[in-house]
């Protein structure tokens, strides 16, 4: 169909599609294809994240990030142990990015790893349920 075009405030989208098995015992390739994506909206600003849902079902998880702040930010998804599973890359002020991951049940960390943003508050968690 037609790609979305963004206007003045929300100009430009960075699409980072990273399909990774997050932890062992991932579903088969067939099951993965059939699973529809669940989207988690995330708002970034100085210096916090707002996640629009606290938990998602296992499977393909899509992060729809909007940077409402004035600084650049990125969204990094990590395991509880700190292993990076995917990132949006630096997203400029007013811009959006989409990150798609395949996540098994568990708790994951969402952080902005630019400068000292995480220390200032840009860190949160997401629960992935069965």
């Amino acid at each position: 169909m037609v790609a979305w075009r963004m206007g003045s405030l929300l100009a430009g989208t960075v699409l980072a599609t990273v399909l990774l098995a997050a932890v062992p015992a991932a579903p088969t390739a067939d099951a993965r294809r059939r699973t529809p994506a669940t989207t988690v909206g995330v708002g970034a600003r100085e210096y916090r994240f707002a996640e629009y849902r606290a938990s998602v079902p296992r499977g393909v998880v899509r992060f729809d990030l909007t940077n409402y702040g004035e600084d650049g930010h990125d969204l990094v998804v990590e395991t509880r142990g700190g292993r990076v599973l995917g990132r949006t890359g630096k997203v400029g002020s007013g811009r959006r990015a989409v990150l798609q991951l395949h996540l098994a049940p568990g708790t994951y960390r969402l952080v902005c790893d630019l400068a000292n943003h995480a220390a200032l508050g840009m860190r949160t968690t997401l629960r992935v349920t069965r």
Binding site: S8, G12, D71, G72, G92, A115
Partner: protein, 451 residues
Amino acid sequence: MPRSIHKGCDDFRQTSAGARGRWLTPQLTRRQALMGALGGGLTIWAQQAMPWARVLEAAQAQAAGAPAARVLVTVFLPGGCDLLDTLPPLSAYGQYADLRGAMKLDAPPALGATGLGINPALTEGTGGGVKGLFDAGKVGFLPGIDYANPDLSHFHSRHFWETGLVTEAAASGWLGRWLDRHGSAANPLQGLTLGSTLSPVLATSSAPVAALESPTDVALDVWGIGGLQERQMLDAWAKLAGGHVRGAGPQSVHTAARLAKSVGDQLRPYAPRQDGSDPLAPPVPYPDGDTLGQRLSRVAALVAQPLGVRLATVDSDSQFDTHDDQARDLGDGLRSASQSLAAFQADLEARGVADRVLTLVWSEFGRRPRGNESGGTDHGAGGVAWVQGTHAASGVLTDYPSLTALDAEDNLKVTVDFRKVYASLIEGWLGTDAAEVIPNAGAYGRLALVR
């Protein structure tokens, strides 16, 4: 009193959201009341009833009447471009190294005998990039540019630079005001933003202007039919948009409908053809996948056609608000600018229009001389700008701020007010009285920016 390290963009959060919002990029249809010394009522250009047949004529007439009319292009580097790492002061390198610590540029190329160096990223591109243009006498740098007691918010500062007024009131753009006085009443291509929304620099009270990414953007797009039937449909559209109607609303609709067709007609010859070839294809190579380069190539192509283009604005896609990792981010931004601007100059020369075009590269403020803890710099004063072109005055045209005599906030002192640069361009390049556009223009003095 030193500011806290890496304060980030706290200033912005203190600004009235209402005020901030009023200054954000307006869309093409948005105009806000013009108040104060420049006075006057506000009309939306589309409201005026223009006989449609005259629109195309007007564009061609404007082009034909002044075929060698000068063009001013402005290129915006958003975020506040750092002067010290763009033009590192070699003659004060010790102080520079002390201020910038680990993020300093180690052996920047020298900029002739000016005592300044230049960021290596600015040597990239055709013919040595922006440095190559400087060596060829086509670039005039303006270090220390800003305004007194600078406001360090992106939104405030950008608004001031775009309107040419240091005021919180909403206003038209400085080049928009020029078009209101010296432009055509009927040719939207006289002031072009290459982008999806009109730059506030070109926001006008009455003169028509346009924003486009490509010539096809502004054409009426019809699916499913072509050839004779498509022409018949669009002729019917022109008829539906014709005739005389009463009332501001109906007039604005009919005018917009006529212009939608006529602007499309004007640009159709320049849209990519059926066979995939591009009539606006540049005669020189531009950097791959670089939006700034693509937009500049469109500017060069459209300026070279008889379309009456007088002013064009382009925004860089890079981010110059380098609070962290300045070495990488500023380098990336300057590389894109250098490659794109060098290609742009070569393009204009290949097309034989370079003598008519002058480009101003600008940013909304400078940055603090002392680096922060994140390998970057925070908002400061005394930034960098430059003029570029075959008729640009060349060299370092303003005083480089002292690194030791800083202002009360430990920022670089401003050595030239941006309104002086604007007034100089209006008089020296566009050849009209600056006071019509910049209030109190006489107070700023003039720089020779044109050879």
